[in-house]
């Protein structure tokens, strides 16, 4: 195995000096272990109590390279310690026991142990334990780099292969899986050469509850729009935390918020949004507009009204044009509310336009404005596949709605965070494929929760343009959807700070098509599509360009509840998203700056938003009333939402007609 300079304090002499923490309540064994380890030239620290060990580890995550622990301990079960260490510190842990029962060994491995040694432990066995450290480091490194710069999912064994001689062992995968909740963020590792071991020294940041609280407090203090990593970092005042760590965490956080706010905003926003949709632009600049959409989602009437207010034709037209798209943030925010959109399905023509508006549930309200929602809206209303956001297709009346309705529906759908959803729905609308709706719903929801929909909005906006193009062509929609999702994703994932600027052209536009639909779908977890979106600069968006993304950041999502949720959600669930099933659309190479964050999004397993499939199911806990909405939407939407074959599956959606 090629041993490179690795982590240890003595740079070139690893494994000499590798810092091991030995835990065993039996003093005899502990002394023996200490002596053996010292003989192997490791740097040993011992303790007879698991609690003390944890304390030591928590004090300084960088203090140790490896932990060896006995299984039977009076104060804490060895397996529990194993889990905690794996989750919090992500260090390799070796179990030690006098009992070599297969069941126990299996338990150890399933809990994440790198190895299971039997007592009496022999020196030969201990002489090899440093391998675990290298393996883990390498995988982590690859992992991070990969997600950031490559397309490969970090678990991809190909990465391991890249590690050279290091054996790719399942442990790595397991580690990742086990660490879904683990919020290691070594974004700064992105791009870092795997081989450059010097970076291996960088500790992985683990976002503990306290740390996250500090983060949230800082974000609140700054205001979500103004929350830029640098400032957050300053406010948090935590040592060993880099701007990149904060940036990636912020990204995830935004997704989370979006998801949450989406739901919350849907209702309220929908109404407002519909009313405020301005045909002239999709400038989603103001999330509020979109927010309205959210509210619209719930009510057909509202939608209709709102949409009607849109200058249908004008709006629609606008929607088609990039400028109209304003969806900019749609995807994420309220768009989810597209429930009305669901009905839209049909608003094929107009709706398509609407689609562009990404009904970012919360934030996207603005976006929708630009959309020719009016047309679709009616349709949307009719169709309202309530439950499923994406169901634009059914919208009979609201043709225009596409945008608004879509957004509404999207929003309804639950703002699920995925702004993309909004977008997708839009695009779907365009095509009339109902698929979008579903996606949207999900995405929106997800995205909403995940981020401050702002970003997604931009995505949507970009999508919107795309949607215009989609008109009539499902494919487009899908593409758009994807881009949207991508964009959204991008936006979200990309440096939050960037959200302010409508990224219209950015990520989404160019390539979005590919991304997303699948990504949208997948995005249930928001993240998923985000990542995808990110990657792909939705070309579609470009087309539309015109729209201004509502800067996701500007979109105020309902912070209240979202924030409340976050610790728990973000920490574990939020990030939990599974890997986006990037069905091909994920374009890891972040063409756009926004993508930069992508990997992180995807990487942290947690974040990856779940497949959008869950139409409306995503809404994280605090949805409250939105839940009703969402569930309603979801129900209807659900079936339609299922993306099939990797694209949005819009096929099912009635949206086809729309837009």
């Amino acid at each position: 195995m090629r041993v490179e300079r690795v982590i240890s304090d003595e740079n070139d002499s690893f494994p000499v000096g590798m810092r091991v923490l030995a835990v065993d309540d039996d003093p005899t064994c502990l002394l023996l272990l200490e002596t053996l380890l010292t003989k192997c030239k490791y740097n040993v620290t011992t303790t007879s109590q698991a609690i003390t060990a944890l304390k030591m580890l928590r004090e300084n995550k960088n203090k140790f390279d490896l932990v060896i622990s006995d299984v039977h301990m009076p104060d804490m079960d060895g397996f529990k310690l194993l889990e905690l260490v794996g989750l919090e510190m992500d260090l390799p842990v070796i179990m030690l026991s006098a009992n070599g029962d297969t069941k126990l060994v299996m338990k150890g491995i399933t809990h994440g142990a790198c190895d299971y040694l039997l007592k009496p432990v022999r020196i030969e066995e201990l002489q090899n334990i440093w391998q675990h450290v290298i393996r883990r480091k390498k995988f982590d490194r690859k992992d991070r780099n990969g997600s950031g710069s490559q397309d490969k999912p970090y678990i991809d064994s190909s990465e391991a292969a890249g590690l050279g001689n290091v054996d790719q062992n399942g442990k790595f995968n397991k580690k990742r899986k086990d660490q879904n909740e683990d919020e290691d963020e070594e974004r700064d590792e992105n791009g870092h050469d795997n081989e450059d071991l010097s970076t291996q020294k960088k500790p992985r940041v683990v976002w503990s509850v306290e740390l996250h609280r500090k983060f949230v407090a800082a974000v609140n203090q700054l205001g979500i729009e103004k929350a830029v990593p640098k400032k957050i970092l300053e406010l948090m005042d935590v040592e060993n935390l880099t701007r990149e760590n904060v940036a990636s965490h912020l990204q995830k956080f935004r997704l989370y918020l979006k998801r949450i706010s989406c739901v919350a905003n849907q209702q309220a926003n929908m109404a407002a949004a519909l009313g405020s949709v301005d045909s002239t632009h999709l400038r989603m600049g103001t999330m509020n507009g979109l927010g309205n959409f959210h509210t619209l989602a719930g009510t057909d009437q509202i939608h209709n009204a709102a949409f009607r207010s849109f200058q249908h034709s004008g709006v629609l037209r606008r929607l088609n044009t990039p400028s109209g798209v304003g969806i900019s943030g749609l995807p994420s925010s309220g768009l989810v509310q597209l429930s009305p959109v669901q009905n839209l399905g049909n608003t094929s023509t107009n709706q398509s336009k609407l689609q562009s508006f990404v009904i970012p549930g919360n934030h996207n309200a603005n976006i929708l404005q630009g959309m020719p929602m009016s047309l679709e809206f009616d349709q949307l209303q009719n169709n309202r596949a309530a439950s499923h956001v994406g169901q634009f297709p059914s919208v009979d009346n609201t043709t225009v709605l596409p945008v608004s309705s879509i957004s509404a529906s999207l929003i309804d759908a639950g703002c699920s965070s995925s702004p993309l959803l909004g977008v997708t729905s839009n695009s779907l609308l365009l095509e009339g494929s109902s698929q979008l709706p579903t996606l949207h719903a999900r995405n929106l929801r997800d995205s909403v929760s995940g981020f401050p929909n702002r970003s997604t909005l931009s995505d949507f906006t970009s999508i919107a343009p795309a949607s215009n193009q989609l008109h009539g062509s499902k494919a487009d929609i899908q593409d758009q959807a994807s881009p949207i999702s991508c964009n959204a994703g991008k936006i979200i994932s990309s440096a939050p700070q960037d959200w302010n600027a409508p990224k219209k052209d950015a990520p989404y536009q160019s390539n979005v098509p590919s991304c997303s639909i699948n990504s949208l779908r997948a995005v249930n977890g928001d993240m998923a599509w985000l990542g995808q979106c990110l990657d792909q600069n939705n070309p579609i968006f470009n087309r539309n360009v015109g729209f201004d993304f509502v800067d996701p950041l500007s979109i105020k999502f309902s912070e209240g509840e979202n924030l409340a949720m976050e610790p728990s959600v973000i920490e574990k669930e939020g990030y939990l998203m599974v890997q986006p099933s990037r069905q091909g659309s994920y374009i890891p190479d972040n063409e756009d700056e926004n993508f930069a964050m992508e990997p992180s999004v995807i990487e942290k397993e947690g974040y990856l938003i779940v497949q959008p499939r869950r139409q409306g199911s995503y809404i994280p806990g605090n949805l409250g009333s939105l839940e009703d909405l969402a569930s309603a939407i979801t129900k209807q939407d659900h079936d339609k939402g299922k993306p099939t074959d990797g694209d949005f599956g819009y096929n099912d959606y009635s949206l086809r007609t729309c837009i």
């Binding site: 039996d26 005899t28 023996l32 002596t35 053996l36 039977h72 020196i123």
Partner: protein, 153 residues
């Protein structure tokens, strides 16, 4: 010189017999190998720790088994498990073997069997302690006489 050689021979013979009789196994040899200039008293230290621990565990087990109301076999088992671990770490083979038998009685919740095992463990422990103390004494004598401890393979 003669004294040293004599002592060394005694030491070797005694060690061999302990191994032969199963009091000590290969693990003990490993321990002896670990002893070096950095940790000259390593083996003695480990052995002392073991004895202390052993006594504590035996007391725990006795107390648990004496409970008239109901023996907490889980607790007994935990103690036995630990004793098994430490005895195997030090190379106390006979003690370890008794522990293995002891554990199955615990699992079967056989109080009588456990008590018998406890007796055996106590017995083996005492024997081992004595023997090791003799061995260590020899070691000291060798060192005092200026010799070095021979490595027994």
């Amino acid at each position: 010189m003669d004294v040293v050689n004599q002592l060394q021979r005694q030491f070797i013979d005694y060690s061999a017999s302990l191994h032969r009789e199963g009091f000590l196994d290969d693990q003990f040899t490993q321990l002896q190998k670990l002893q070096d200039d950095n940790s000259p008293d390593f083996v003695v230290e480990v052995a002392s720790l073991f004895f202390e621990d052993c006594e504590k565990l035996i007391n725990n087990m006795a107390r648990a088994l004496e409970q008239q109301q109901g023996v907490d076999f889980k607790q007994v088992d935990a103690s036995v498990h630990q004793l098994k671990g430490s005895s195997s770490s030090i190379g106390a083979m006979r003690v370890k073997d008794v522990c293995i038998a002891f554990r199955s009685f615990c699992e079967a919740q056989n109080r009588e069997g456990c008590l018998r095992c406890l007796q055996q463990v106590t017995h083996e422990y005492s024997l081992l302690k004595n023997k090791l103390q003799t061995l260590f004494r020899l070691q000291q004598q060798i060192l005092a006489a200026g010799g070095s401890i021979p490595v027994v393979e």
